[in-house]
Each structure stands twice: as C-alpha cells, then as structure tokens.
C-alpha cells in the first residue's frame, strides 16, 4: 500500500458538474473471471449503478463468499473498464494476500457483494487534444477508464505503464486498442527509473502535446509528473491508495492523519481518491488547507 506523496500539494477537486450516482449495496453477479498475468486477474461484474459510474471511481468489494468470516473488510477496487451497454464493469487486481487470493478463486455465476460506485472521479478537460496517463503496477487500473473516455472524445492517449517485470505490465492490450502510444517500462529492464520516464514524457509536455496528466501507483512518478507539468501549467490529477473499511466516509480509516495541529487530512475514499497535484510552492489557490499534505 503506497504512502502519500510528499513534497506535492494535493488539492481536493471541485464538485463535478453532473451528479454522480449515489453508492448502493449490491449483490453483483460475477460474469467473468480470468487470469491475465502470472499474478493478475480480471473480474467482470454486473451492476447497472456501478456501470454508470465515472472514470476514477471505485467499488468496495467483499472478497469472500457471504458467510466467510475472514478476511472481513471489503477491498477498494478501481473500475478498470466500464461496459455500460451490458451494465457490466471490470476490475483487475493482483493477488497479494488472503483477500485477493479468495477473490481469484471465485468463478463466473457467483455473487460478489459490493458498495459502489464511490469516490471522486477524474475531471477530464473539455477540450483535450492529448492525455498522458502514468501508472505503475496495479495502479494502472485507476487510469484506464479515463483513458478510454478521453480516446472516445478524440484525444490522443500517451500511456506510461510501469511494473517490476514485463509480465506484470497491466493494461497494454487496452491501451493498444485505444490507439495509444504506450511506453512500457520495468525494473528488470532498468527502464522504470523516474529519470528515464522523464526522458520519455518531457517532450510531450514541452511541445504541448498533452493538456492533462493522470497518475496512479507511484509516489515517485507523481512527483515526477508534477515537476515536469508545473512549468507548462499542465493539470496533474492523481489517484491515491489507502487502507479503507467503509469506503463512503464514516470510518476515517483512509485519512493520512494530521494536517497541522488539529485538522484531519482529507479522506481518500470521499474527498478522493482523485486529487489535483501541484508543486507545494505553487499550490493551487482556493484549495482547502486540509489538502496540503505537509512534507514531514
């Protein structure tokens, strides 16, 4: 689980123009489940409300069958892809513990209990010629749906997909189908260091090819994106990860802690998971003070 980025000012995004569907409790049929990489699975579920959600939103998915007592908490899962025509949506996850192991053993036809859609979506600019998405590991799953929407609106998508190993790269097929220019980078190939990623994407920003950058899955890449985008005034939005129990704002488990003496940092589930990121020195005016995560 990633810690919060430091040295970056996080701003709570203004309320979206349209109204988002209210979250609900659903017993969602699992319509497909298959392995997409050695440690990665794709699960497709049917729920009209969630399928009507927006890119960047997520669901709280109970990994176990109804009566299982362990593990007891639902898992926050980004919606990887929306399939509104069939009231379906997809999540992609990596098996990292008991919860995701149990999830991976479930099969089409079973019911998954979930709460969703929850969280603030990405705010895509209305006139968008180019969108840069940067994802690392399973964090790629938070930005794929936004890339799809941007591509459908005619934007050119540029995607940095980072992972430890080539077989852990997520979403290459999806980005290829969007006609995106994809930059796969991995630790084992020595291509994933921020300096190398900077070489790949700096020209896109410098030449004005993209008007927005979306990042998820790596604090170092968030930091990089903010530093590269700031001189050009390019909007950077990030999706953060956190431990969660409720997903809708009442348990306060997902806050990073304190901002100053007595103010709680924003809730990742409700105020986020999507935040605007900027250099701490040039924090966006009008953002809530709670959003400035102190570099400690």
């Amino acid at each position: 689980m990633s810690d919060f980025p430091h040295g970056v000012a996080l701003g709570v995004l203004p309320a979206p123009a349209g109204t988002l569907p209210a979250p609900h409790c659903a017993a969602a049929p699992i319509t497909a489940q298959f392995q997409v990489a050695p440690e990665h699975y794709l699960m497709r579920l049917r729920d009209a409300r969630v399928a009507g959600g927006a890119p960047g939103q997520f669901v709280m998915l109970k990994p176990t069958r109804a009566t299982d007592l362990h593990p007891i908490l639902p898992r926050p899962m980004a919606v990887y892809r929306y399939l509104p025509a069939s009231d379906e949506f997809e999540i992609v996850y990596r098996v990292i513990g008991t919860g995701t192991q149990v999830m991976s053993e479930r099969t089409a036809g079973e019911i998954a209990e979930l709460v969703g859609p929850v969280g603030q979506p990405f705010r895509l600019a209305s006139s968008l010629d180019g969108l840069l998405v940067i994802g690392r590991g399973i964090g790629v799953c938070s930005i794929t749906a936004a890339a799809e929407v941007a591509a459908a609106r005619g934007a050119r998508v540029y995607a940095v997909v980072s992972a430890r190993r080539p077989d852990a790269l997520v979403g290459l097929d999806l980005f290829a189908a969007l006609g995106a220019q994809v930059f796969p980078v991995t630790d084992t190939e020595g291509t994933s260091a921020p300096e190398h990623v900077a070489e790949l994407v700096a020209p896109l920003l410098r030449l004005g090819r993209v008007q927005q950058v979306l990042v998820c899955g790596s604090n170092r890449l968030i930091d990089l994106a903010v530093r590269l985008a700031a001189p050009h005034g390019i909007d950077v939005q990030v999706s953060l990860e956190a431990h969660m129990a409720c997903g809708i704002g009442y348990c306060h488990g997902c806050s990073h802690g304190a901002v100053g003496e007595s103010e709680e940092a924003p809730l990742v589930c409700r105020e986020g998971p999507v935040f605007r990121a900027s250099c701490q020195s040039s924090a966006v005016s009008g953002q809530r003070s709670a959003a400035a995560i102190a570099d400690s």
Binding site: P23, L69, P71, I72, A245, C246, G253, G257, S262, E264
Partner: protein, 337 residues
C-alpha cells in the same frame, strides 16, 4: 415500521423500536444511501470531542483473522461543527440519536454534556470512556472505577436524559467499572469497546498500524465480548447494550440471552452494510420460529448451571459491595487453626 415485538426500553425514557443500533465509529448518515436508517433501533454518530483533533497517523487500519485493528484515534471537528453540521443530518431520521462523547480529561466530558443538554435531536449520551487509541485519558479514565464514576457523576449533573457509559474490556474486572458507573448515575451501560491489540509486518519490522498498538474488533472478539457483557449484565440493574463482534441475528441473540437489552453492530457494517437490517429481520424470524412473544422475554434468559468457583460469583452482590448475608462461605477455605 419494524416488528412491534422487538421494542425494548433502555431506561430513562430511551425506548427503541428494536434492539439493534450501530456501534459508534462504525456508522455515519452516509449509510443512508445503502440502508434504510429509519428501521434501526437508534443512531450513534462517531465520538466527538470538545475541540478539533486530527486523529492518528496512517495506516489506521489492519486486518487479523476474523478481526480488524484500528488506530483511527477519533478525529473530530469539535462540538460547534457537530451542532452545526452533523447533528442536523441525524435529525432527518426517526430513530433516537445517541451522541457519543469523548475526552482527554474528565472535565471535557462535563463540558460536552453541558453543551448538549436540551439540544433538540439529542436523545441521550454515550460516554466513550474506553477508546484505546488516545494520547491521554483513555485507559487512565476508563480502567479506573473512581474516574469513570467522576465522569458519569459530572455528566448526569449537567445533562438531563439518558446517560450510557461505554466500558473498555481492557480491565481485570469489568464489573467494578460497570457498578461504579451505575452508582454514579448512568442509566445504561454499553459493553464493550475494542481490546488493545497489535500486529506486526515482519519484513518491515514495524507495527501494521501507525500507532504501535490499536483496538481490535470484529468476529474474533465476540466470545470475549459476550463473556464481559454477561458479567456486566448480572452485576448492574440498569440495561446493558452489548457489542463486540456482532454480525448477525445469531450473534445478537447470544448477547441478548446473556443479558443485553440491546445490541450494537460495528465492524460488520464494513463487511456488509446490510448487517443491521438483516439482524433485525433475523430477530423477528427467531421469535416466529421459537414461539417467543417478544424479544424482551429473551433478555438475560440464559439457562445455565453454576459450578465450581462461579457458584460464589453467582451469589447476588458478589461483584458489588460485600453482603455478609448472601455471600457464601468459600468452598476451599483454609481450616481455621
């Protein structure tokens, strides 16, 4: 409208349409989009403090087998924000709202009680003298019968209405604390809050939570919570609200049979937000299936035979002040020489 057979009375005028309510900290009006809050026995917001506090560093949550550790540390925007923003959101719903209050000092509880006295929409107070995740107060207050009595005594002098003391299980004898709260004027007892616990990441060699210790809740603690509710309920005369790992009607019935007049559901709300309505429906089914007239007949209806050392415990007043008329002689006392 819920099943009239489920109505219970928590004393001091606090009547619930059914015995199922949320546990403080595991509920918010945000749940209104998930379940019908008007079907619940009562509503209980997250504990508030007098002033604003940020809460603890992350990670605030971790999981253990059938359980959850939390070290949220009660972030609160304080009483003014509660009255202006949070309480009005609760007034939209029919069940009584029991306001949970905390404090780092005994006076903080008293000040909150004074501010909440007479405020429309406040049906009662629950005194959280049992959070294990505070930098001060916490167990210093909650594990001391004298300090709990002082908190309760000062609150009942300032607040007209039901006052419920929520007790910690992190004590040797919860009965002592419960009795102290009752004698100081509490109209009911909530038992229990979380157990102090710990989990470690062996690779990082660090605690799994942002504070080294945290409170454990969930099904893992249910048998221990049940034992403490049973002991509490037969020690005090005021009603007891039982909680600790309750996930369904079966669990709720165990606590009711052990003596709880009502139950609170906490961690199970995260697992399945329908846990409270499902539990209420399950209680009605149980009454049907067992031919029981109403749920009040089940409160403390546990059948058991005392044996061994517990025979002495079962004597009236065994956990209260000594009563020479009813306290039996020790079975294995030393023969007087």
């Amino acid at each position: 409208m819920t099943d009239p057979r489920l109505a219970v009375d928590l004393g001091a005028g606090l009547k619930l349409q059914n015995p199922v309510m949320p546990a403080s900290g595991c509920f918010g009006v945000e749940m209104a989009s998930l379940i019908d809050l008007d079907t619940l026995g009562a509503l209980v917001p997250k504990t508030i403090f007098y002033g604003a506090r940020a809460g603890n560093p992350s990670p605030r949550l971790a999981e253990t087998p059938a359980g959850m550790l939390n070290s949220v540390g009660i972030p609160s925007r304080g009483i003014d924000d509660f009255l202006r923003r949070i309480l009005p959101a609760y007034r939209r719903f029919r069940p009584p709202t029991i306001v949970s209050i905390g404090g780092l000092s005994i006076h903080e509880y008293w000040d909150l009680a004074a501010r909440l006295n007479g405020v429309p929409g406040v049906a009662g107070l629950e005194l959280n003298v049992s959070c294990p995740n505070l930098e001060a107060g916490g167990l210093e207050i909650g594990a001391s019968p004298e300090n709990v009595a002082r908190v309760v005594h000062g609150v009942v002098q300032r607040f007209e209405g039901p006052v419920i003391a929520k007790l910690t299980p992190n004590v040797t004898r919860i009965n002592d604390i419960a009795l102290a709260a009752e004698e100081a004027g509490a109209s009911a007892i909530s038992a229990i809050n979380t157990f102090v616990a710990m989990a470690i990441d062996v690779h990082a060699r660090q605690p799994l939570t942002g504070t080294p210790t945290a409170g454990i809740s969930g099904p893992a603690i249910k048998p221990m919570a049940l034992r403490m509710v049973w002991e509490t309920a037969r020690t005090v005369r005021v009603p007891v609200i039982g909680m600790g790992g309750i996930s369904n009607a079966q669990d709720a019935l165990e606590f009711i049979l052990a003596g709880a007049s009502a139950v609170a559901i906490g961690t199970a709300n995260f697992t399945r937000p329908t846990a409270m309505p499902d539990t209420i429906a399950g209680l009605s089914r149980f009454l049907d299936d067992e031919g029981v007239g109403n749920v009040r007949e089940l409160i403390g209806a546990l059948r058991y035979e005392a044996f061994g050392p517990t025979a002495a415990v079962d004597a009236p007043g065994a956990y209260g002040p000594p009563d020479p008329d009813t306290t039996p002689a020790p079975r294995r006392g030393r023969r007087p020489s």
